[in-house]
């Protein structure tokens, strides 16, 4: 066997290996649409309610006032059910012919369904849409920041179940330090540091001692809940002065805040929310455009490959998990220094887990995870708003709504999303 000159070889094109594909028909989506269309039909026609829903689009201080949208419940419902049925039929046709439809279909379907639901639930009363959006942003902030912590940590290869602990630890520390020092900003920094501390415990056990990361995370969640409960009942209840921080001021941004509908929701917020506006794109840009991001993703995908080009895998993992804690800690500070104004027992109420769901639903991508968190935040806001106007749905059922949506979203899409290959696997060197 003699070796030949490379030039005489058949050119080895950098071609894509494509296997022949069989026609695979996916019926999951059309069937889901059909079920939802039936639900809409049931609600708006069979259980239809008379009267009109008034969707209030304006709020005081808008640059120009949008008129209220008055939608007759039954008629709107019927029109939307027809549209939903059409979309469902389209989806069935696409599935039968193994065609792919764009992402517009689920979005349009979702918006139509929400409008139908709102007009039905709000028949005879007024729904403040601007308020609904404001609540959506407010409820999404800790989810988004928690999810960013999750994205950073998991992209670096450490499963972060401990987002809940990071949020709760941040919330508690933020409240206490801000109260004790009288400076809210010091409280914010302290919240981030506390959360970094939680992250570092996770990092040490996961990276140094190869402990199963899910277990460390769950234990941390229970530990931080227990600790904060203890200090709350033994210290804070007797010293209310330690649990009355000065809340962060709302800083309206001139002009932007008076954009109708979205202005107040987006641009009349505290420094934490504005920081979030910067952090999310910064992480997205950093992950995919910088050396830091390249190395971070490398150690989460194939740590040994990173090691062989001289990257200190475990050190880099440690500091990035710590950074993830800082971001999540900002979300924790939001609870006590922005939205609530004092610490209460287990006030994060499982939102850390919802943030984790947003990470997975968002396919470990900062922007997509943010959108997922917004969806979950919207579901919570909807529940609150409908509870306030007295919707026909039992309030217990409405409380389930965000979690049902989370469950459906994660179940429906999880098959398609691929986690970082080495997430959860410690890197052991000989």
């Amino acid at each position: 066997m003699t070796a030949q000159q490379p030039t005489t070889q058949a050119p080895a094109q950098a071609e894509t290996v494509e296997l022949e594909r069989a026609v695979v028909k996916h019926w999951k989506a059309p069937i889901s649409y059909a079920v939802l269309t039936l639900v809409a039909l049931l609600l708006t026609v069979v259980l239809g309610r008379d009267g009109s829903a008034t969707l209030r689009l304006a709020s005081s201080g808008d640059l120009f006032q949008l008129p209220d949208a008055v939608l007759p419940a039954r008629a709107t419902g019927i029109v939307i059910v027809i549209l939903l049925a059409a979309l469902t039929a389209l989806s069935f046709w696409a599935a039968a012919t193994a065609r792919r439809l764009g992402v517009w279909l689920p979005i349009v379907f979702g918006v139509l369904f929400v409008v139908a639901f709102l007009t039905w639930a709000g028949a005879g009363s007024m729904i403040p849409i601007a308020g609904l959006l404001f609540a959506t942003v407010g409820l999404s902030v800790p989810l988004i920041l928690g999810a960013m912590g999750g994205v950073l940590s998991e992209r670096a290869g450490v499963v972060n179940i401990a987002i809940e602990a990071q949020l709760l630890g941040g919330a508690f520390t933020g409240a206490v330090v801000a109260s004790a020092t009288g400076s809210t900003l010091v409280g914010v920094v302290a919240a981030m540091l506390a959360s970094v501390l939680v992250s570092m415990v996770l990092a040490v056990f996961a990276i140094r001692y190869f402990v199963e990361q899910v277990i460390v995370g769950v234990v941390l969640n229970v530990l931080v809940a227990g600790l904060t409960n203890f200090f709350y009942s033994s210290v804070l209840t007797d010293n209310p002065a330690l649990n009355s921080p000065v809340r962060l001021p709302k800083i309206p941004i001139p002009l932007l805040e008076s954009i109708p509908l979205i202005g107040p929701a987006l641009f009349k917020q505290t420094i934490i929310v504005y920081a979030m506006y910067v952090i999310v794109p910064l992480i997205a840009w950093g992950l995919f455009k910088t050396t830091w991001g390249l190395r971070l993703r490398a150690i989460g995908e194939h740590p040994m490959a990173a090691d062989t080009v001289g990257i200190k895998v475990n050190r880099l993992r440690f500091w990035n998990v710590a950074l993830a804690g800082a971001v999540a800690g900002l979300g924790g500070a939001y609870f006590t220094l922005d939205s609530n104004g004092s610490f209460t027992r287990e006030m994060t109420a499982g939102l850390g887990y919802i943030a984790l769901a947003a990470v997975i639903f968002g396919q470990w991508h900062p922007i997509k995870a943010t959108l997922a968190a917004l969806l979950f935040g919207f579901a919570s806001a909807l529940q609150q708003t409908l509870g306030a106007i007295g919707s026909p749905v039992p309030s217990e059922f409405m409380l389930m709504l965000p979690y049902v949506i989370t469950l459906l979203a994660v179940a429906g899409f999880i098959g398609r999303s691929r986690p970082p290959a080495a997430s959860g696997k410690p890197y052991v060197k000989q």
Binding site: A3, R295, V309
Partner: protein, 514 residues
């Protein structure tokens, strides 16, 4: 320079893992512009040595000199800076990154960002005629091209010593030729090359010098003009029979008939595409092909492990497709999976327990829901002797055995019950020569007992040695079924998807199988 030093010199390298001495005072010299082959069996300590050289392991004793200057490597980064590049056996490429990103990783500043990395990829590609798109994602590239990315990665760091660790394991014969041409071109440009392999043919084709190591020790140097037999006996430490001895096949009535078998993966790709063949009792059908062309899925489909399979798998008139694995095993199918540690054995179980793994229901080992330890241990003791399993006893955990002894446990279990079909997937992968000889003799004995045998192998030597007929697979389909005496060149072409003139096309499905 007053004295001309070798580019790379290893002196007295010793590396221990616990009680095991993986490298025992190894000396090695490589000069600029030569290809130095490190020849040794699987488990001889070649890869350990190279990982020491590359800073991945720390040696207990010995020193590494580059151009006469002693080096201390705290990690691979140091080794790379010193000018050592490595093409790893398991590619150190991140599958979701592009070519340029993989080259850039770790050298972001030196290469001047992504644009610089792309430029570098183009430059080196051009020099070697690689045609690699810097923006292609690694996971979309064929393995042969991925390996070139590994080479580019090493060259982008201006490596003066380049280590190729078992580089041909994943390549077709043609790709192997191309790789050797690349290695020669590098040598002629003055790179010092270490070529680690256990394949004698390649060593003889390309080596300037040969160092043979066995059981962690240097046995000696050999000349590239040595015969394969000489090299093999040096490598193994005793005379080795390189050919498989077998009588002409005596066909029996046992018959496996696969017709139009198609297997889909989760996203609808036809990983096995309309495959038809027959195997008769008394013959070995070898399935050749580069890894990842559907062989794994084919064998798994026969065993009932693939959920999305259509077509027909007929064993002596009994349709196996759609049967559960239990039913397939009860029909007398013996199966050696390709990854014995993952699919073949339970590492934390003892030899005796592993030997009854697929016979946990009923006689002879289980009665009234309890294990009959007497029967089990008697069976295990007998197999321990019959299959020459070197272990302290039947209570040894299989995870602690060597690869060869583990494979013997798998064979003892699968051949230890009455069979009507035997399927062995990569039966000798990673084994030492002694074990390979044993496995081959067992396969031939099974064939001579009148049982249809299917052997999947990516090693052409093994295919040619064992087969009565050879089916070559490429991208899920069977390119052709040819006699065992077909030349390597033709087999190589077929492994790349070409069907040379004169080779009959495989029988289309629904037709009568030949």
């Amino acid at each position: 320079m007053a004295v001309e030093h070798p580019t790379l010199e290893l002196r007295g390298i010793t590396k221990r893992f616990g009680a095991l001495v993986a490298n025992d005072h190894i000396d090695l010299e490589v000069r600029a512009g030569e290809i130095h082959c490190l020849l040794g069996e699987n488990g001889a300590g070649k890869s350990t040595l190279m990982n020491v050289l590359y800073g991945l392991y720390h040696a207990e004793e010995g020193e590494i000199l580059l151009d006469g200057a002693p080096q201390r490597f705290a990690g691979p980064g140091d080794a790379m800076h010193a000018g050592i590049g490595m093409v790893h056996q398991h590619f150190m490429l991140i599958p979701v990154f592009t070519v340029a990103e993989n080259v850039l990783l770790g050298h972001e500043r030196a290469l001047g960002g992504l644009a610089g990395a792309k430029q570098k990829v183009r430059e080196i590609s051009q020099r070697f005629g690689f045609h690699i798109d810097p923006d292609a994602r690694i996971e979309d590239l064929p393995v042969g091209v991925q390996q070139r990315v590994e080479i580019i990665k090493a060259l982008s760091q201006d490596a003066k010593v380049l280590v190729f660790d078992e580089p041909t394991a994943v390549l077709t014969p043609q790709e192997t030729d191309e790789l050797m041409a690349i290695m020669q071109q590098l040598r002629d440009e003055g790179t010092a090359i270490v070529f680690i392999t256990h394949k004698l043919r390649e060593v003889r084709a390309i080596a300037d010098r040969i160092t043979v190591i066995r059981l962690g020790k240097v046995v000696g140097e050999a000349s590239p003009q040595s015969s394969s037999t000489e090299l093999a006996s040096m490598m193994v430490g005793r005379p080795v029979e390189l050919t498989v001895h077998k009588r002409p096949p005596v066909l029996t009535d046992n018959r496996l008939e696969v017709t139009g078998l198609t297997v889909l993966d989760a996203i609808g790709q036809k990983v096995v595409n309309d495959v038809s063949f027959t195997v008769q009792g008394g013959e070995v059908l070898c399935v050749a092909g580069v890894q990842g062309n559907g062989q794994t899925e084919l064998t798994e489909a026969i065993l009932g492990l693939q959920p999305r399979a259509t077509g027909s798998i007929d064993l002596n008139g009994n349709e196996l497709l759609g049967d559960s694995v239990r039913e397939v095993l009860d029909a007398g199918v013996g199966f050696v999976p390709e990854d014995r540690k993952v699919d073949g054995l339970v590492g934390d179980f003892t030899i005796a327990e592993n030997l009854m793994l697929d016979r946990y229901r009923g006689a002879p080992f289980v009665s009234a829901g309890t294990i009959d330890r007497g029967a089990r241990d008697e069976f295990a003791t007998e197999k321990l002797g019959a299959f020459d399993i070197r272990a302290q006893g039947i209570d040894t955990h299989v995870g602690t055995l060597s690869g060869g002894n583990q494979q013997k446990v798998v064979l003892a279990r699968e051949l230890g019950r009455p069979l009507s079909l035997f399927v062995a997937s990569q039966p000798t992968r990673g084994l030492d020569v002694g074990s390979i000889e044993f496995v081959h003799s067992q396969i031939i004995a099974t064939r001579d007992a009148g049982i249809p045998v299917i052997v999947v192998s990516t090693e052409l030597d093994e295919v040619v040695g064992l087969a009565d007929r050879i089916a070559v697979m490429y991208r899920g389909g069977v390119v052709g079924i040819v006699p065992a005496d077909t030349s390597r060149d033709i087999l190589g072409l077929m492994m790349a998807g070409e069907r040379p003139a004169g080779i009959p096309a495989p029988t289309p499905s629904k037709g009568a199988a030949a």
